[in-house]
């Protein structure tokens, strides 16, 4: 058992911020491309799909109360195969984190510091994230819970301040690219909610029951779905269809549009404060979850010494792609096919656990003996 105990509000805040962070990158544009004016339906469907999957997987977590998905995988499929399963997940998280590190750094270049070298920006991201992760998961989750309401206020302020530009006619035609496109893309987009598995991989740190963890996950997914819906709908309402597929940083473009009198305009720079904050949380969570997965997969006592190594590795990986276009393409691949790793592997473990009829009982008994 870990000494660190995280409460349910902290867990939910961390999950929501990590899933929601992509709203500040090209995600709304990506949805607009996939579903045109029905982009918001895609996200609604994807949210519902991921909630269903999470609901199902939560039974797996409930079978092993107090155990993380890494430990459960190890227990269900054995240590050797478990290492492979967990290794694949780890690689996915590392790649996703480095892609996002690069994307966030690119976004800073686009929105705030056009002349800054990308490596310097990524380095500042990394140093901050390194310090925060070094201070621990408890500190990270607590600061997420503290920052969450203010970040939410920031996002809502942008969306509501755009009210004069809302044009409902821009949402027509209602079904966009058509029902098939909406449903298929809706399913593929569940990867966008893949960060919910942070909760599953950190389950051994939570101070609440597995049943409550299910509810925390459902709440986070529901909340983020609503937030995404609001952002995408406003985005589609403010930018008419062809334009909506062309913006490089949609949320930044939204905040640039704000014009509430002569003295409250061009405030996009202030929103840099908000969205970079979510980026810090996303990257920190990525690094700390990777470290925790390694710790639990190979059963070493601490995860903290892994943080510098992972940070530097992620930094190097993030700077490997040549330019922003390349990284956006890689990200698209990740969103479209990522579910095959982040959702499919836990589902596979779940199915195997059901077939083998394994439960958390023996493990718990063993744990109590150890105590």
């Amino acid at each position: 058992m870990n000494e660190v105990r995280i409460g349910h509000s902290e867990a939910a805040a961390l999950a929501i911020i990590c899933i929601g962070a992509k709203a500040f990158l090209g995600f709304p544009r990506f949805l607009a491309k996939m579903g045109a004016t029905a982009g918001w339906m895609i996200i609604l469907l994807a949210g519902i799909f991921s909630m269903v999957i999470w609901f199902g997987l939560s039974f797996l977590l409930q079978r092993y109360p107090g155990k993380s998905l890494t430990q459960i995988t190890n227990h269900v499929v054995g240590k050797n195969l478990g290492l492979v399963f967990n290794g694949v997940i780890l690689i996915y998280i590392i790649v996703a984190t480095s892609i996002h590190l690069r994307l966030f750094s690119e976004a800073v270049v686009i929105t705030a510091l056009p002349q800054a070298p990308i490596s310097a920006l990524a380095l500042l991201f990394l140093i901050s994230v390194w310090i925060a992760t070094h201070l621990g998961l408890e500190a990270l989750s607590r600061s997420a819970a503290i920052a969450f309401p203010y970040l939410l206020i920031g996002v809502l302020a942008v969306l509501i301040a755009l009210y004069p530009f809302w044009d409902f006619k821009n949402l027509l035609p209602f079904l966009g690219e058509g029902v098939t496109a909406v449903v298929t893309n809706g399913f593929f987009n569940i990867t966008s909610f893949g960060e919910i598995f942070i909760l599953a991989y950190l389950a051994s740190f939570f101070s609440f029951s597995a049943r409550r963890l299910r509810n925390v996950g459902l709440f986070s997914l529901g909340f983020v779905t609503l937030a995404f819906l609001f952002i995408v709908i406003v985005y589609l309402m403010v930018f008419p269809m062809p334009v909506a597929t062309e913006t490089l940083a949609p949320f930044y473009q939204l905040s640039r549009q704000i014009f509430l009198g002569r003295y409250f305009q061009r405030v996009e720079a202030v929103f840099v404060l908000f969205w970079t904050f979510t980026a810090f949380f996303y990257l920190s969570a990525g690094i700390i979850v990777s470290a925790v997965i390694i710790k639990e997969a190979v059963e070493i006592p601490y995860h903290r010494p892994l943080i510098p190594v992972l940070s530097i590795f992620i930094y190097c990986l993030a700077l490997t792609p040549g330019d922003i276009v390349e990284i956006i393409n890689i990200n698209r691949l990740l969103i479209v096919y990522g579910w095959a790793i982040i959702f499919a592997i836990p589902c596979l473990v779940w199915v195997l656990a059901m077939i083998k009829g394994k439960r958390g009982g023996p493990v718990d008994a063993q744990q109590q003996e150890e105590k």
Binding site: G7, E10, I127, S143, A145, I146, Y263, V272
Partner: protein, 604 residues
């Protein structure tokens, strides 16, 4: 001449020759050294401290020998009365006097006292010999420190009764000291003591100890009476509404001030002695029926475990017991207001008082209690909230303003309305420095004025602030070194940093401001965001005596409306959850009974 004689002569000549050569070389050496080297007397300072002489020169073995040699002169000739070995072991660790007991013979005791206090060299110690007026009269002497003890108390309540009362009383009492304590000395605190360790402690803290011939016990009379500062007004935590009392440098006055504010029999004062050489008195105060026993235990454990020479102030003690010495924010609150301490005590926290310092420490401390002021609660709710709102704005201003200014003028000019940016540009036209240098120049000047204002004596100190701020600022602008807008920025930042009620916390914010300024100069708003993230994470990772520093916000625990917003006093029904107090409830759900009574009356 025989052969032997010849050999002898040759040897002698050889030796002579050898010695001649040796003297010749010696002469040359002397000649050279006399002519080539400076031979005057070495000039020395009047006094050079070269260690404690004998002790340093002596090797360890010799040290032991000299100790043995010295012993007869250091210790009295007579066999010493000491405690049994098991007891004395304990005492020996604490100092050399641990096991020494009072002797039956007065002259032996006198010798002990003279040795302990190096009399008659040590002029602070008074040893007054007199006769107790029994039949037959008994020799006695009193020892006290001149200046620490009250002379009139000694005259009236120690010497006078002993010398004049109970005239010609027949003695044959077995416990003479006990008899005198019970019948003759009228002082309110008289103890019978027999251990020199206790005796020396009493004398060193203003007591008077009376030794009586033929008694193996002495009498320690409470005669403290040194000159002390009276209860004054708080210097750093002034309020308009609320009490104007502040702690002073005397431990007992401070505990009394707290006890006066919290009139409760469950208020416990535990005393400690900290420091090997000085043995500073320290006390912890808490309400036994409220404070979490494990917290009390932890505070006691930390204080007792300190092994140092001298602790002269709560500021030093704070550094010995805090959880995160390298973090920027303080984790222990220091206050000079008894009312504030009282309010924390009834919340279930613990106060630490050290003799000789007017600041009392409160543990555990959270971020929010460092930002609250006593007056927040004394004012009516709307005003209290207004003040708090202002203060929280001040925090952000004091941390972020210079950074924001630099970020906006250097990287995010599009944020500024055109007219304003033109004004800023015009004002900066004559300034030859980049904004960051300009800001650092002015911030440095401001901090310098502040620091100098604190150090310079009273009258000049006050004027210096005005002279420094007004004239320096004006001159700097006119000379074209800084822009007028920057003066406003620095002035507002400085003002805001003074609005933070806790002295340590305002230091923390001032330090953080420089980091934010540098980050903003390199990365604009992104740098500020990064700085803020690290700042928040570091605060969230801290603990003060086991309580998370950002509680009850991170982690979220149940709390009364008393963080940013201050709810009505009658709504604060429970004590903070994070303290795990023995009694959670502060007041019932309905604390204003009259509101209910009225309703009932109407119903009737």
């Amino acid at each position: 001449m025989s052969k032997q004689d010849n050999e002898y002569k040759r040897d002698k000549d050889n030796k002579k020759d050898n010695s001649k050569t040796a003297t010749f070389f010696q002469d040359i050496k002397n000649l050279l050294s006399n002519n080539l080297l400076f031979q005057g007397e070495k000039q020395q300072e009047g006094f050079i401290l070269t260690g404690s002489g004998q002790q340093e020169e002596d090797s360890k073995g010799e040290e032991r020998k000299t100790e043995q040699k010295k012993e007869p002169s250091k210790k009295p000739v007579r066999v010493q009365r000491t405690l049994p070995k098991e007891d004395s072991k304990l005492h020996q660790e604490e100092g050399g006097l641990g096991s020494l007991l009072v002797d039956f013979q007065l002259k032996i005791n006198k010798k002990y006292v003279e040795e302990i206090y190096s009399l008659p060299k040590n002029k602070d110690i008074v040893l007054r010999e007199f006769m107790i007026n029994f039949n037959p009269p008994i020799h006695a002497f009193a020892v006290f420190v001149d200046g620490l003890s009250d002379n009139s108390i000694i005259n009236e309540f120690v010497l006078r009764p002993l010398m004049f009362f109970h005239k010609n009383k027949e003695i044959g009492i077995p416990d003479l000291a006990g008899f005198i304590k019970d019948n003759i000395l009228p002082g309110n605190q008289v103890d019978v003591v027999e251990n020199y360790k206790d005796i020396v402690e009493k004398i060193n803290y203003g007591g008077t100890v009376v030794f009586i011939d033929g008694s193996p016990k002495a009498l320690a009379v409470e005669t403290k009476g040194w000159d002390r500062r009276s209860i004054g007004k708080p210097e750093a935590e002034q309020v308009i509404r609320g009490p104007h009392e502040a702690f002073n440098e005397t431990l007992r006055s401070n505990t009394a001030l707290i006890r006066k504010a919290v009139r409760n029999e469950n208020l416990i004062t535990e005393m400690f002695k900290i420091g090997k050489r000085n043995k500073t008195d320290a006390a912890i105060m808490y309400l036994e029926d409220l404070a979490n026993p494990t917290l009390v235990q932890e505070v006691t454990r930390r204080i007792k475990s300190i092994n140092t020479d001298y602790i002269g102030d709560t500021g030093v003690l704070e550094q010995f017991i805090e959880d995160h010495p390298f973090m920027i924010a303080p984790q222990i609150l220091g206050t000079e207001r008894p009312d504030r301490v009282a309010s924390f005590l009834v919340e279930g926290k613990i106060a630490i008082i050290v003799d000789g310092t007017p600041n009392v420490l409160i543990v555990p401390t959270t971020f929010f209690s460092l930002l609250h002021s006593a007056e927040d609660y004394y004012l009516r709710m709307p005003y209290g909230n207004l003040v708090r709102l202002l203060r929280f704005a001040a925090i952000f201003i004091s941390i972020l303003t210079p950074g924001m200014y630099i970020a906006v003028t250097t990287f995010h000019q599009e944020m500024i309305p055109t007219d304003l940016i033109l004004a800023i540009a015009a004002s900066r036209q004559t300034v030859p420095f980049p904004t960051i240098l300009e800001v650092f120049l002015m911030e440095f000047a401001f901090e310098l004025i502040r620091e100098a204002g604190v150090r310079i004596p009273g009258v000049i100190g006050n004027t210096l602030g005005i002279v420094g701020a007004l004239i320096l600022g004006q001159a700097a602008v006119q000379a074209g070194i800084v822009s007028p807008i920057l003066i406003i920025v620095v002035a507002i930042t400085g003002l805001a940093s003074f609005a933070i009620p806790n002295y340590s916390m305002s230091f923390a914010f001032r330090g953080t401001r420089f980091i934010f300024t540098i980050l903003a100069a390199i990365f604009g708003f992104f740098g500020i965001s990064a700085g803020f993230y690290i700042f928040l994470s570091s605060l969230a990772s801290m603990k003060s005596f086991g309580v998370p520093f950002l509680a009850p916000m991170g982690p979220k625990t149940r709390s009364e409306p008393d963080l940013f917003y201050r709810g009505p006093v009658w709504e604060m029904e429970e004590r903070p959850d994070y303290l795990n107090t023995l009694d959670r409830r502060r007041q019932p759900k309905v604390s204003r009974k009259w509101t209910e009574d009225k309703g009932e009356e109407n119903n009737e």
